[in-house]
Subunit: 196 residues, 2 copies
Amino acid sequence: MPTERPRPAQPIPPHAKKVFAGVIFDVYQWEQEMFDGTTKTFEKLKRPDTVVVIPILSDGKIILIEEEQPGKSMRTGMVSGRLEHAEDPQDGARRELREESGYEARSLTLWTACSPVSKIEWTIYFFIAKGITCVGNPELDGGEKITLKPVTFEELIEIASHPDFIEKDIRHFFTEATYDPKKREELRRLFDPTTL
Amino acid sequence: MPTERPRPAQPIPPHAKKVFAGVIFDVYQWEQEMFDGTTKTFEKLKRPDTVVVIPILSDGKIILIEEEQPGKSMRTGMVSGRLEHAEDPQDGARRELREESGYEARSLTLWTACSPVSKIEWTIYFFIAKGITCVGNPELDGGEKITLKPVTFEELIEIASHPDFIEKDIRHFFTEATYDPKKREELRRLFDPTTL
């Protein structure tokens, strides 16, 4: 079970300068010595890490969301959001789960983590939430319209292995589970509501 | 066969302002009206599109590369690079193939294209190159150390379906081909050197 931030293949060096601070993205540049002794300006970005939460209901259904955002078409996805400044990923996962679904979880387990873009220091943490109970209404901001969409394990595998599924970084788990009975059984155990 | 740039789910609107111009990344911001009538500053990036080229030798072997870049660990990948300003993807693919491998191709076919990150206007084009001949030495810049690595079709499927493979956006094709004989046969035909 990964608990640490994956190490980037090319970390932003300590002497890099922050040349732009944006709403989401900060831009860093540094002079990189090349193999032939010349130097070149290298550029990388930092952005807040994000969490994705997969809540499992006591009947085994998995909660996906239908999400609409201003200027964006409607999509099926998962509870997710950006970490706040210095927020622990587990705390961020609990917060996003509460805000987007109205649920709280007895158990929150880190499933996997990845850094999908080599030129961006950005990690996505995937959590599985079990022992969940509804404690109120979702608390959405003006930029979110979300409908909860519980699906069966079999439906999840079909949806999440499809090329259009939003969370591309975990798609291979579901593609493998489509074909490989052993991988499917591993996933089934992972998503089993009776084991915390 | 896709020939157009995939349409982003949330395009940068025409009235967005370019607030930073970097070496690779440009940052755009705009005031987005939210569902509740308030507005919020939205931010998206643009970066040059990239091409990936998969050259097939006449014996059916596929050329991968072992690449070392300053400040980055050695990795197995594919011939690839950024398009120059206003360069056609097909022209860019020919140029990168020539520069990184020393090969020219009689036939260059667009296999697939994708935009991997929703907050970045960035498309990756994947080309298959057949009828290839070596016309000289690679022309590498001071930031590249590249060794060509021809692999068999079976080796390619194993390497490219591995979680660590660089070109994650085409990994699902190889994962499917690992398990599904029909998908494997489709890939084999696609990579068959005798059909241009």
